[in-house]
Symmetry: C2
Subunit: 441 residues, 2 copies
Amino acid sequence: MSHANPHPSGRPRVVVIGGGFGGLQAVKALRGAAVDVTLIDRRNFHLFQPLVYQVATGALSPGEIAAPLRWIFRREHNVRVLLGEATGFDLDAREVQLQPEYDGAAPMRIPYDTLIVAGGSAYSYFGHDEWRTVAPEVKSLESALDVRGRILQAFEAAELEQDPERRAAWLTFVVVGAGPTGVELAGQIGELARDTLPSDFRAIDPRQGRVLLVEQADRVLTSFPERLSHSADRALERIGVSSLLGHLVVGVDEEGVTIEGADGSRRVPARTVIWAAGVEASSLAAALAGPSGAELDRTGRVTVRPDLTLPAHPEVLALGDMVRVADAQGEAVTLPGVAPVAMQQGRYAARVVRDRLRGRPTPPFRYHDKGNLATIGRAKAVADIRGLRISGLPAWITWLVVHLFYLVGFQNRLLVMIRWAISFVTRGRGARLITQRGRRS
Amino acid sequence: MSHANPHPSGRPRVVVIGGGFGGLQAVKALRGAAVDVTLIDRRNFHLFQPLVYQVATGALSPGEIAAPLRWIFRREHNVRVLLGEATGFDLDAREVQLQPEYDGAAPMRIPYDTLIVAGGSAYSYFGHDEWRTVAPEVKSLESALDVRGRILQAFEAAELEQDPERRAAWLTFVVVGAGPTGVELAGQIGELARDTLPSDFRAIDPRQGRVLLVEQADRVLTSFPERLSHSADRALERIGVSSLLGHLVVGVDEEGVTIEGADGSRRVPARTVIWAAGVEASSLAAALAGPSGAELDRTGRVTVRPDLTLPAHPEVLALGDMVRVADAQGEAVTLPGVAPVAMQQGRYAARVVRDRLRGRPTPPFRYHDKGNLATIGRAKAVADIRGLRISGLPAWITWLVVHLFYLVGFQNRLLVMIRWAISFVTRGRGARLITQRGRRS
C-alpha cells in the first residue's frame, strides 16, 4: 500500500468521503481554510439527485444534471479529488482505505487529521436484493438510463406485440413507493404517455398506458401535510396515475408484481417496474459504528453526537442520510433524508473544522427546515414552506426556481431551463433515447 | 411468424431499413406520397454521426446529437417506425425478416412492394475483431460513451498512479486512423488535455498527455487535397497531436499498441486506444448480393445499378456506404462514405418510388459533391468546397454552420450551439462524466 501524493504543506489534512450534497458543501465551506482537503468519490461528478427521475423519462440528459467534481474545485488549490471507493477506516491509525477506480490499481491508505464521511443512502429492496435487476431505481445516473430505456422500449414492444394481454402488460408501469421520487416519476410517466407520445405510435394509443403507484402508507407524500398529499393524489389521477395506497409489494419478477393489501393479495402483470421505496444507509455507517461503538438503527444509520462527531472520535464527523443526530438528551433524531439537511450538515462540518483551527467550540448542529417541495407534473406541485401550504402553479414555479438555483454550473442551469421551457410549450421530451438495453443483454 | 400491424390502406408498401442519413432522407422525401412507409431501425433514434466524436470527449451530451425517429415522423401518418433488426430478406416473397428489439419477441416478416436498404457501415478491425473490446470506436453512441469514460478515467488513473512508466502509459492516447473522425477525435483529446483539464488535477499535469495519431497512408485526411492535409497536420501538432504516418497497427491489447512502419516495428505503451480506421459495409449488403447475384467488393459493399436498384430486382434499392454504384459502362464506382452521398441517394430512392407511381422513368443517380469539411480543434478546420480550399477560422465557421444546419431538431441545434459557445469562451467541456465503466466491469 502507498500514500497517494501526500500534501506537502504539512497543514491539517481533512478527508471528505462523498461528493453528494453534504460532502460538496463541506469542501466548498473549507475554501481558503488553512487545511488540505481530499475529496473522495466513486464517481467523477456531483449528481443533482432531485432531478435524476427526469433523466429516467427523457426530459433531461445526464450531462445536464451532473457536474465534474474536479471542475467544481478547479480553482481551490487546497482541494484534491481522488476517484475511488472508500472500503473501510482505520480509526486508530486515522486512515481511510481506498480502492482507486481504475484497472490494476493497488489499494491505498489516505491519512487524515479530520475525517468527514458523507456516504449517503440507497434504496432498500425490503431485503429482496434480487428485485434490483428487474425493478431498477432512479437514484444513480446509470440506473436512470436503464429505466429510461425500459420505459421507452415498453412502448416499442407494445407497438409490435399482437397479443392483447401481453400488450397490456407492456403498457403497465408500476412505481413502488410514493415519496417525492416515486410521485414525480409516476407523474412524468403519465405525462409521457398522455402528452408526449400519442402522435408517435400507429398501432397503439400510448394514452392507454397505466401507471400504478404502490404505497404502503395510507397516503402519498407522507412527509407533507395531509391536505397536500390529497391534492397531489388528485393531480396524479388527472394525469392517469392510479395510486394504490395501503398496499405492499411482496413479489417482483420480469412479468409483473404481486401486491398485498387489506383486501388480500393480487397479481399485476407489468413489464416495467421501478423502485422508489425503502432507505438503507451507506455501508460506511456500519464501518464507522463498529470500531467506535456508535449505535446503528435498523436502516443502517449511525448515531452521531450533536456536533456530528463519532463517540470517542471527535476527529471523525458523519452527516447526511447515513446518520441520526443525538439531541441534548442523547436521544437519536432522524432528520428527513433530503438535500437541505445534508447541505446544512456539510457546511456545519466545515465550521467545526474551522472553529477547531481557532480553538473555538462549535454549538450543536441545528437543522433549519426551509420547507418541502414535490412536483407532480406540468404546472403541478405541492409546497410546504414553514407552514405555508401551496399547490398548483405557484408551488410549481417555486419548485422550478429552487431547483434551477441549486443546480451546479451555469451551463447546466441554462440547458435545463431551455429543455424545460421547450417541454412546457411542446409537451415534448428531448432526450428520448434507448441507449442501455438492459432487457436484452 | 406474424405480420406486424399491416397497413390497412392497400397502398404500395415501401419498407426502409436504417434510420441513418440515407434512410431518413428517403422517408422524408416520401412525405405525402401515395404509399405506406415502414421504417425499421435497431435504434429508436437518428444519430448525427459527424458529431459522435464530440460525445466521446465530453463536449456534447448524447441526447443533443440524436433525435427519436418516431418524433421526427410523428406528423407523417403514412409512416410507421418499427424497432428491430432486419436479419435477412426473402427477395422472391418480397419480405424482410425482422427480429423486434424486445424481450421474448418472436421474429416477424414484413412484406414490401418496394424495399430501400440503407444499412450503413462499421469500422473494420483489419480482421482482428478481438481488438474491438480494447480499442473501441466512436461511431455508435454507446461506444462513444465508453470512450469518454476511458479517456477521463485515464487522467484519473494517472493522478493516482505512483509509477512513472505506468503513469505515462495512462497519459498516452492512441487514435488509429487519420480520416476525418480520427483527426477530429485526436484534436479534441489534445485540447482536452491542454485547455480543459490542466487546472483540474494536482499530481499530474494533463498537458503532458501524448496523443498519437497512427495512419497507414503518408498523410492525414487523404480524402482532401494534399495542401489541406498538411495544414491539418500542422494544426494537430500545435495542439499536441503527433501523427505517425506510413505506420500500421499490427497489435492492440490493454497495455498498448504495436506499430509497424518502414523503420521496423515498435511497441507504444498506452492504456487508451481508439479505433477510427477501416470500413466494412453492413452485412445487409451481403444478404442482398447473395440472392440477387450482385457483386460484393472486399469491404462488403454490394454493387447496385445506376438507379440504385439490385440486378434482377428493380423493386429493391440499396444506398449509402454499403453500396457501390455502377456507372453507364457498368463499372462499379465507390463514392465517399459521407453523409451527403447517403442523403442524396436517399432522396433519389424516394424519387424512384414516386416516378414509378406515375409510370415515369428516373434518370440515373448523380452525386453532387458540395465539398468536404473536417475540424481539427478550436477555430481550426479545413474545407475543400468545389475547388475552394480554405483552412483556419473561415473553414471552422463554415464547419459550424453546416453542422448546426443539418442537425435534426430545433432543441438540439439550440443546445449544441450553447455548449459550443460556452466551450469556445471557457475552453471547458460540459459533459465530462464517467458513466460507463468498461474497464472495471
